[in-house]
């Protein structure tokens, strides 16, 4: 297992190098300039700006500097917000995005699995149909529509929640629900179908024949196997929740990282683009690794090996 993780870490490094390289060149190929301004700048100032950020060097020097700085984790000062360090921006805003993301993932997984299990247990009865309708709604309503609806009715009209901002737990409920609605519905569908498959499998019939009680069969045997696809889905879900929070953060004016990730690109804020991209890449690559490790915990049939499989 340790050699497996070591090997994966090497792959992660290679992937990081590819991502940094691709970002660097795409960024330079894209038209536009971070210092283009509505009021024309004297050439002396333009030059001095370029020199400050090393943009006057040939591309290979800039590329080398980027690689070294990325390795050191030092991304420099933002080109748009000249008083802000990219690292500070990430350090301040990521915990907020993570709180929101974890809360949304908790809602999505807990309620998704619950809904899916209930639907499977009452297969083709009214709870099943009700759950299916909810799931279809959840999947088909985009999160930003959900966010606006929740904000308008629950916050503005009924005054149950604050409208926007980030000043306490109450402020995070609506955005987390809005962010969770689609993945929750998806998890519910996944759980339902794999639960149905498991309840028809031989080992469950065997357990029934042995007279084991229904809750024990469902929770101890069937659900555990049925959750495998859900765990697989966790990695892309992390990606989606962490990076996809941009729109939700905007609607609820939450000071999260998603905003920097998107606006830095329109601002051509090179240092922030690089910083957020590298940071997200690390998070996502690690998330995938963790999910792979989780597999072995949940399903003992899967073993992690460093070398070739010899099954």
């Amino acid at each position: 297992m340790i050699s497996y993780i070591a090997k994966r870490l090497v792959y992660i490094l290679i992937a990081m190098w590819l991502i940094i390289t691709a970002t660097f060149f795409l960024m330079r190929l894209a038209p536009g300039n971070p210092f283009a301004s509505e009021r024309a700048l004297p050439p002396a100032i333009q030059e001095s700006l370029n020199a400050q950020y090393g943009l006057d060097n040939p591309w290979y020097v800039q590329y080398k500097d980027y690689l070294i700085n990325s390795a050191k984790g030092d991304f420099g000062t933002s080109m748009k917000y000249k008083y802000r360090e990219t690292n500070d921006m990430i350090a301040e805003s990521f915990p907020v995005s993570m709180t929101l993301g974890l809360e949304a993932m908790f809602i999505a997984v807990a309620f998704g699995v619950l809904i899916g299990t209930i639907a499977a247990l009452f297969h083709n009865k009214w709870p099943d149909y009700l759950m299916t309708i909810l799931a279809v709604l959840g999947i088909s309503i985009p999160s930003f529509v959900m966010a606006t609806i929740l904000q308008y009715y629950l916050a503005l009209q009924l005054n149950l929640f604050p409208i926007a901002g980030w000043k306490g737990f109450a402020y995070s409920i609506l955005p987390a629900v809005a962010l969770a609605s689609t993945p929750m519905a998806f998890i519910a569908k996944l759980t339902r179908s794999s639960m149905l498959e498991e309840t028809n499998s031989e080992y469950v019939k065997m357990a029934k024949a042995k007279g084991i009680s229904k809750p024990v069969i469902v929770f101890k045997h069937a659900l555990r196997n049925a959750l495998l696809p859900v765990v697989t889905y966790l990695a892309p879900l992390t990606a989606g929740v962490v990076t996809g929070s941009f729109v939700i953060e905007k609607i609820f004016s939450i000071p999260g990282l998603g905003k920097h990730f998107v606006t830095s690109i329109t601002n051509r804020d090179y240092t922030v683009i690089m910083g957020t991209t590298v940071f997200y890449a690390v998070i996502l690559l690690l998330a995938v690794l963790i999910v792979d490790i989780l597999y072995s915990f949940i399903d003992p049939r899967i073993q992690l090996r460093g070398g070739k499989s010899n099954d």
Partner: protein, 541 residues
Amino acid sequence: MKKLGTLLLLLVSGIVLAACNFGGGGDSDTTEDGEAMKELNVSITSDPPAFHPALATDTTSGAILASAFEGLTRLDAKGEPTEGMAEKVEVSEDGKTYTYTLRDAKWSNGDPVIAQDFEFAWKWALDPENAADYAYQLYYIVGAEEYNNGEGSADDVGVKVIDEKTLEVTLVNPTPFFDELTAFYTYFPVNSKLAEENPDWYKDPSGEDFVGNGPFNLDEFASADHITLSKNDNYWDKDNVALDKVNISMIESEATALKEYQAGNLDYLGAPFNSIDLNALDGFKEDGTLNVSDQAGTYMIVFNTKDEILGNKNIREALTIAIDRQGLIDNVTKGEQKPGSGLVPLTMTGFEEPADYFKSNDIEAAKAALEKGLTELGLDSPADLKIKLSYNTSEAHAAIMQFVQQGWSKNLGIDVSLDNSEWQVYLEQLDAGEYQAGRYGWVGDFNDPINFLEIYKRDGGNNQTGWTNEEYTNLLNQVATETDEAARTQYMKDAEEILMSEFPISPIYFYTNLSVKQDSVKNMEADPMGNVQLKYVDVEE
């Protein structure tokens, strides 16, 4: 199962831990002497791009800076210059030398405001090393442009400290609007003692070294979340500052800001403190709460006169006439803007009456001009005319450009295509002259027509049309040296007439300030430059 439980437990504890990361805290609502606090709640869309007066270029930063700092003069609520740091101003007879006597004012840390603070701040802004975008605002001072371009030296800049309380400024030309300029943020002083010790003082706006001399102190800055201002007890005119505290939250989405306003959590909506969602304008108009005032800004289409087709004056004239400006304002922009009649907005002295350089939406005249242009270009039918209309990506601009496109193709029968690109890309396109017709907007930094006319004085810089005219340039040179106000205005009017007879630009509308405020808020309105000064605002119960 056990492992699954552990997993869930981990997730839950993770959330609980992470939940400790909520900002905010309790607020008290009374001052020390037990009176009710006067608090104002407003919002801005994002972090101000600059906290250093010399590095600021936008109205959001400007609004914060004008609260935390004060120049030699300050604008009143109507946009007219009034007293600021200078107690007395003496202007020499030729209008070129200003001698300021500073009042006994203090920085928020108790240091006295001295003449050196101004000299330091202005030279810092002009130092090319510091790359201040707005350094050109100081070019009216002798030697400033040369120093900023790297040709002169700091010692040759016409700012002289006579003693701690006396500052002498020498200008290149008599500048009738210099009192307005000294109220502008590029001219704000900086505490030179602190800035020399800590050149990065502005990088931590809520830090100890961020001191101002304005009506408010910047207490808190939480990126993308909020800014808190509180009354500055060291401010010389503190008796005329009503507000004790200003809470500025950052709300990027206009729709969200609108809901916060409707819920009573925000006291004011309108630039620079966020703006009113376009969809809500009709509602505010109906219940009579919408405040509209003229702004010194012109929304226009610029033509690339170096282009094969748009190099033709008659084509440009036809395109300019064939825009239904009133229709656009009534149906698309809806902000009660005034139809654009020239380059200089109607807020400027001498330009209050809309000029009649062309008759908007006179299709017959437009067709006649088009016909002439086509003949000159050797084209047979309008359908052979292909024009690309460029703009920077935004819903509002897209709607306006589509309206213009439809007018041109329906009324003139020409083939118009739309082309949008991101702001940073669009600016480069204009600069490189890689466009035919493009959207452009200009909002004045001070209320003088020269602010607008100057753009087209020479090629390059902010003039992306490629259009120049010797007579026009000469007139503007005369404006620069003329001391008689009436004659100066006349030169500027003549210059605008020359510009508008050749149509390098097509004015669309003059901007308006739109705002709504809660009933309790008093004296809060935007001046013609779109500034809202918190110094004068009051909140009544």
